[in-house]
Structures are given as C-alpha cells and as structure tokens.
C-alpha cells in the first residue's frame, strides 16, 4: 500500500461523530480566547502610555507579573482540575477572566493594573488553559496526536485572528471599550462552549475514542476516584521522566524565547529594516503552525522521543547561521528552516505523558510542565536584553539559545523508551 493511500485510509478511519471532537472544539476555543489577550498585550502599551503617562517599562512589569503568576499557579490549576474536574476549574478561570478584563479596563493606577492584569488575569489564564489538554487526553485513547495537534495549532492561529480584531476595535473604540467588549464576548462564547464540555466520557456513558471495552473496575472512574489519582500522581513524581520532561520543557522554551524576543533587534542591528525584520518573525509563526499541527500526529504514530529529539536538535542547530548572517534573504531562509523544529518542539508533551503514564489523568503533571515552560519563557525573554546591555550585540544570545536547545536534546536522549508504560495506569491496575 502506498504512503498516500495509507494516509487516506487512516483519515477515512477517523470517527468524527465521536463526542471527543466536540471536546476538542471547546478546547480550541478556550485556547484561542485565553491566549489571545496575553498575546495582545503589545498593542495596549501605547494607549496606556498616552492616557496615563505611565512608563512603558512599568507597564511591562504587569506582563512579567502575569507570566510569573501563570507559571506558579499552573500546578495548582492542574491539581484543581484533577480534584474538581476540568469543567469547574475552567468556569472559575472564566469568572476570573471576566473580572480581570473589567478591572483592567477600569484601572486608573499602575498598582490596580498590576493586580487586575498581572495577578487576576495571570491566575485566570492558568485555570483556563492548563486543564484543556489533559481533559482532551481523557477523551482520546487513540488519535490523541490529532486531537492535541488541532488544539495546539489554534495557539498560533487563534491569537493571530483575535489580535487583528482587537487592533480594529482599539482604533475605533479605544482600549477600555475594547477590553470590556472582549471580556464580555469572550465570556459569553466560553459559557456557551462549556455547556457542551464534559470532564470524562463516563459522564455521558460513552467510551473514550478508540476504547473498545468498558472497564467496570472502580479505578476507571477517573473523577470519582480522586484519592486513587492522587496516589498514582505520587508515583509519577518518582519517575525520571517526570523531572526530565519538566527540564526539557524549560530548556526548549529558553531556546526559542531568546529567538522570539531577540531576532528582530538582531536583524535591525545588522542594518535590516524594522518591517523586514518583523516579516521574518511572521514567516516563522506561519511556518510553525504546520509543524505544531503535524508533530503530535507523527509522534503519536511513530516515536515521540525521536521526533522530540530531532525538534530540539534542529531548534538548537538552525539558530547558529544567524550569528554569521548579514543578508535579509538568508535570515528568511534560516527562519523557515528553524520554524520547522521550533513548531514541533513543544507539542509532544501530552503524547509523551500518555506513552509513559498510560491512560491516566495528566492534569497535575501537565501543570508542572507548564510551570517549567513559563519560567523558561521568562528567562529566555530576559536574556537578549541583558546580553545587548553587556556586549552591544545579540550574537551571544543566539549561542545561549543554541546551548539550551541542544542541552534539551541531550536530556531527551536520557529518557526511557516510550515503547512501554513506566508506571501502572488505570488500565492495568486491578
């Protein structure tokens, strides 16, 4: 059978009538709304400076507070999701999202802005975003790669659409009205979407996608047997893979955050115009959408460890030519090459969790991984500015990015094989 025929056969085998795809759609909407406001931060800086005469650096502190709060509350969000269910956790996140948006719009002092945008919105974001992927994982025993690929693809596409809409609203309505309307519309969309959301297939008397038998064992009652989940979570903490996957997520995020923050200034420092430099970043974002979508599917069907290793290695090696490049087109070419592994680098964690821990709620584990990733993004975002202050250039930052990504690839090599479950899962504990 030819490869194309195999793919066609594989697609035709997918049962799109299964309710799990509704959960994927709700998860994608949640990702889109939750991440878009974060990504839109850049477009509200100028209006805030104009209206309140706040220093851009002080406004930037709100973003830093939000990132730190999101990072440290991610394991809490994962724990809540496991304890009370993803749906209730997301409702709490939604309430905080609405409060955060309204308060931000009405804030008149920088301190209020730190609390509303930094603390409340930061916490809302983790409660909103962390439970999504683990919830989807509970719905899919098979085809988890496709399900997560669709959601992770929205991380790039969603903000791109919402930022454009917010940009138009900012021009015509002002930033306060934009925040109020976005908050209300986002909340209404999510309340409607969450009506269709169910924590587990058992709540609807359904089987997870790809499961063939109903296991009547009490252990399969995932939300009802939280004590069992918590005990099994303690076993997860005792695996090398838990620590190494957190480590790898941190290293990968440092590696690409340096580039995402430092590439435009690097290109400008080499005499390339601002517009052309931003275009390079846009090309990277567009190209990476494809690998964000495809990598979980490939990892699920081939070998996630190898795909993850190649992604990290590629992310580390393909940045090096930028140190020596002076030409705009070479920047673009290297950008396209780099975007391929960059897009795939962060998308395999749900698949790795599944391979190592079987069909087990991954909420808390995933929460810790998001904590590591967020800290990595914070460190990576800080490095280019620090390096520029010292050296007057960004070349050292590129080498640091390469070092962290390649170190990540090395840590992946130390991981156990993904061919067998490391610890007993719900299926094989009786």
């Amino acid at each position: 059978m030819s490869f194309a025929l195999k793919i066609r056969q594989s697609i035709s085998d997918i049962d799109f009538k299964h309710y799990g795809w509704v959960i994927v759609a709700v998860g994608a909407v949640a990702q889109m709304i939750g991440s878009a406001i974060r990504m839109a931060f850049g477009i509200i800086i100028d209006p805030l400076v104009e209206e309140f005469s706040w220093d851009p650096k002080s406004i930037g502190i709100a973003y830093a507070i939000m990132s730190i709060v999101t990072a440290f509350s991610s394991p809490i969000a994962g724990y809540c999701s496991m304890k009370i269910g993803a749906r209730k956790t997301m409702y709490i996140g939604l309430l905080l999202f609405l409060i955060g948006m309204m308060w931000t719009a009405l804030a008149t002092t920088i301190f209020e802005f730190y609390i509303s945008y930094g603390v409340i919105f930061g916490f809302a974001q983790s409660l909103f975003l962390v439970p999504v992927i683990p919830a989807v994982a509970i719905w899919f025993k098979k085809r988890l790669g496709l399900a997560t690929g669709l959601i992770i693809g929205m991380w790039s596409l969603g903000p791109a659409i919402v930022i454009q809409l917010m940009g138009i609203m900012l021009d015509s309505l002002g930033w306060q009205q934009t925040f109020i309307i976005s908050g209300i519309v986002g909340t209404i969309i999510m309340v409607i979407s969450l009506q269709f959301f169910r924590n587990t297939p058992q709540e609807m008397n359904l089987l997870p996608y790809g499961a063939t038998t109903i296991n009547s064992d009490k252990n399969t009652n995932i939300q009802g047997e939280n004590i069992y989940s918590m005990n099994l979570q303690k076993i997860v903490y005792n695996t090398n893979a838990f620590w190494s996957l957190m480590n790898v997520h941190f290293l990968g995020c440092v590696g690409h955050a340096v580039i995402l923050i430092g590439l435009v200034p690097l290109m400008i420092s080499k005499g390339i115009s601002y517009t052309d430099s931003v275009m390079c970043l846009t090309i990277i974002m567009v190209v990476s959408i494809s690998t964000r979508f495809l990598t979980p599917i490939l990892g699920d069907s081939i070998n996630p460890k190898i795909i993850m290793f190649l992604s990290f290695l590629g992310q580390g090696l393909f940045v090096i030519p930028w140190v020596f490049t002076e030409d705009k087109w070479m920047f673009y070419l290297v950008g396209i090459l780099w975007a391929i592994p960059y897009g795939g680098e962060g998308t395999l964690f749900p698949i790795m969790n599944r391979k190592y821990y079987g069909f087990f709620p991954m909420d808390t584990t995933y929460g810790w991984q998001i904590l590591a990733a967020s800290l990595g993004m914070a460190l990576g975002g800080f490095i280019p500015g620090l390096v520029f202050d010292v050296t007057g250039g960004y070349e050292y930052a590129i080498w640091i990015s390469a070092f962290f990504s390649i170190l990540g690839a090395f840590v992946i090599l130390t991981l156990e094989t993904t061919k067998k479950v490391l610890r007993p899962s719900f299926e094989n504990l009786g």
């Binding site: 838990f242 620590w243 190494s244 957190m246 202050d389 010292v390 170190l407 130390t414």
Partner: protein, 59 residues
Amino acid sequence: MIENTIPVKGISLFLFTIVSSFVVLIYFFAWDSQNKIDENSNYKTSWFQESSIFICPLH
C-alpha cells in the same frame, strides 16, 4: 509492581539545568557590573552587582 525509588538521573539533570541557568545569568550580570565600574570609578554598585562579581570567577 509499584516502586518507590528516588529518580536520581532526572533530578540530577534538572539541577544541572538550574545551575547552568544561574551560571549564564551570573556571568552576564558580572560582566555588565564590571563594565559599569570600569566606565565610572565612582559608580555605586548594588548588593546584587557586587554579589555577581564576587561569585563569578571570570570577573
């Protein structure tokens, strides 16, 4: 069978990463502080800048 072992390899690599991150930060902070002191001999260093120079063996 459920085992209760300490994941030495995973934790060691994790600690190595934390140390590496601090090494990078301390090196550049020390470099930055040293530059400022070299440029202006009256420059008043903060405890943080002094500490970074003290810890970094290359500055």
